[in-house]
């Protein structure tokens, strides 16, 4: 089933009077339960691509459908709502709120979805259990290891049952052992039916994905499906 459809997407910035085409006519379709890696050197448009798919940004021109919804014409509030309901973000730097416990960090998307307190705690505890952190729920981020923090972030991404999980260099700040653990979790999420989109410049990480696209100068130059 078709989940995401990007059609003729342009993102053009004006930097010091000079036109920069961060995305230069991109067409991309992502289906349900895909495991996709977006690769490319820095400046290739990788981050813009991720922001576009993650509904953090809207295209200068082009059409973006997310499960049939027209993202390219949405306003700020609608974008916030679609991010809240359909997208789970995992960042390189974890981006947890330092003063909040693991449980509360995972709860926050549910607060914005206006879900009742009891239900929030149930859902957040379950998500933390799913990433193996049931005994760390009341720890603050600075009391957790890097790998554990990223697992909290994954739980936060999962808690709303999103349509896609968007992971931006998820292992970039981790040692290789923790990185392996995190990739293991993402792999198992995929085998449970989730759609995963990885943004990375490391081949080792991209190998976990079943499909790899390569960007260069804002264009898709390679779209490869591995066995």
């Amino acid at each position: 089933m078709e989940l995401i459809n990007l059609s003729d997407i342009y993102k053009i910035y004006n930097v010091g009077g000079e036109e920069v085409r961060a995305l230069d006519g991109v067409d991309l379709t992502i289906n349900n339960n895909e495991y996709l890696a977006i690769m490319g050197p820095s400046g290739s448009g990788k981050s813009t691509m991720m922001n576009m798919i993650g509904c953090l940004d809207t295209p200068t021109s082009g059409i973006y459908h997310f499960e049939g919804e027209e993202v390219h014409i949405m306003d700020d509030a609608q974008l916030a709502s679609i991010r809240n309901r359909k997208i789970g973000f995992v960042f390189q730097t974890f981006n947890l709120l330092p003063k909040a416990s693991a449980l509360h960090n995972v709860e926050i998307p549910l607060v914005y979805a206006n879900i009742r307190k009891e239900k929030r705690i149930d859902m957040a505890s379950k998500a933390l259990k799913d990433v193996g952190l049931e005994d760390r729920m009341h720890h603050k981020p600075n009391e957790l290891s890097g790998g554990q923090r990223q697992r909290v972030a994954i739980a936060r991404a999962l808690v709303n049952n999103p349509s896609i999980i968007l992971a931006d260099e998820p292992t970039g700040n981790l040692d290789s052992k923790s990185g392996h653990e995190i990739m293991g979790i993402l792999d198992s999420l995929h085998s449970n039916g989730n759609t995963i989109i990885l943004v990375t410049h490391e081949d080792d990480i991209a190998k976990h994905a079943k499909r790899t696209i390569r960007l260069f100068d804002g264009k898709i130059i390679e779209d490869e499906i591995s066995k």
Partner: protein, 403 residues
């Protein structure tokens, strides 16, 4: 949106308490603002109370006819040649006025009172038998002097409750002799205790004697006023009439200015209201100033907070917070600081009011307390709005990248 409200409250409280010193310093302007407005209110309420009780002692329905106005814009040279009040006016007013219910002449001077080895300096009043109708104090024990006692110049006196306590303690004062400037007077009555007039002088330390005796012993030509009691619902008519009667007594032509004054407690009220406006105005100005300064402080610290938490804002937006949700979060934070500041100011005001109350009776007005808390919240909203709006408009992508 209940869950968002509690989330915001939680964030606000943790932000305020995480930066305790900063919050307190930021809040100082608001604290001072609330403190000044509530203390000013306390002061005015206390003044009101003592003013009212003092005014009730004077009586609204009494006209005080005398040489000079109590409060006047006139120059001294315009009024200094006015003739004195005379005892004969009493009978003339009674004869010609239909509104005058009681007329009593009052002369006053300082004198030394003594009983056995006890001595005190105080004010003595010479008056007639209708005096009691023109004051609100009652006789606690004994009686007032009679018209015939006045006529024959009997040496009797009615003393204030304070003198009675000082001279006689628990003993009965009636029938005892005290000395006024070394002349013996028999105590026939004791007045009820009243407390201080406007907190200035005590009416409990007076002695009242018949005018006949007063004039004979102390002075014939002292300062005198006439207290005229008129019906409570006919004060203005009474004023006009007494004024006319006085002009007639003085034989003034219609073109001539009155050469006497008729004073009313209203004059005190006017004067008092001016004082109140001065105090209130000063308080209002200080409050306004400190609230503006406090508001700027809040705004400043909120800008810093937004800057410090740019990344957090980015994360919150990425996981689904709308602009409105971010706005409400930071607005709430500003309001929370102001609310704490308001409560702090109010508790300081409460503690101070306890001390003020020991000096003169006053209370912290409840309405004003609630008002001051509301005002501090309004300051929070007003000064927090621009920083919160700025936070809400931050671009999520740039914010996530912010170091």
């Amino acid at each position: 949106m209940g869950s968002l409200f509690f989330e915001n409250l939680k964030i606000s409280l943790s932000a305020v308490f995480a930066n305790k010193t900063r919050s307190i310093l930021t809040a100082l302007g608001i604290v001072i603002g609330v403190l000044s407005v509530t203390l000013m209110g306390t002061l005015i309420s206390g003044l009101d109370r003592s003013f009212e009780s003092s005014m009730s002692w004077l009586g609204k329905d009494i006209l005080y006819v005398s040489r000079f106005e109590w409060f006047s814009d006139m120059e001294w040279w315009e009024v200094r040649n006015r003739p004195r009040m005379r005892t004969e006016y009493v009978d003339k007013i009674k004869e010609k006025s239909k509104y005058a219910l009681a007329v009593s002449p009052v002369m006053q001077r300082g004198a030394s009172l003594s009983y056995e080895d006890k001595e005190t300096r105080t004010e003595i009043f010479g008056t007639n038998e209708e005096y009691m109708e023109t004051i609100s104090t009652d006789i606690e024990r004994g009686r007032f002097f009679t018209a015939s006692e006045d006529k024959v110049g009997a040496r009797v006196t009615i003393i204030g409750g304070g003198i009675k306590d000082a001279f006689f303690g628990d003993e009965d004062a009636i029938g005892k002799y005290i000395k006024i400037d070394n002349l013996k007077f028999r105590v026939v009555g004791v007045l009820e205790k009243q407390g201080k007039f406007l907190g200035l002088f005590s009416v409990d330390k007076q002695a009242i004697l018949p005018l006949g005796a007063y004039k004979r012993i102390f002075s014939k030509r002292g300062w005198m006023r006439l207290s005229v009691k008129v019906p409570e619902d006919k004060i203005d008519e009474g004023l006009d009439e007494i004024s006319g009667v006085m002009r007639q007594i003085r034989g003034l032509k219609p073109s001539e200015k009155s050469d006497f004054a008729i004073n009313q407690t209203k004059a005190f009220e006017t004067q008092y209201n001016r004082l109140k406006i001065a105090i209130g105005g000063t308080g209002f100005f200080i409050t306004l100033l400190s609230l503006v300064v406090g508001g700027i402080g809040i705004m400043n610290i909120m800008f810093v907070t937004v800057k410090e938490r740019t990344r957090e804002i980015g994360v919150r937006k990425a996981i689904g917070a709308t602009n409105g949700m971010i706005l409400s979060q930071f607005l709430m934070e500003a309001v929370t600081i102001c609310l704490f500041a308001g409560l702090l100011g109010l508790s300081l005001a409460y503690v101070s009011s306890i001390f003020i109350n020991k000096i003169f009776p006053s209370t912290l007005p409840l309405g004003l307390s609630i008002f001051s808390i509301l005002i501090s919240m309004v300051v929070g909203i007003v000064s927090g709005f621009i920083p919160a709006y700025k936070a809400s408009k931050l671009d999520p992508i740039d914010s996530l990248r912010y170091e």
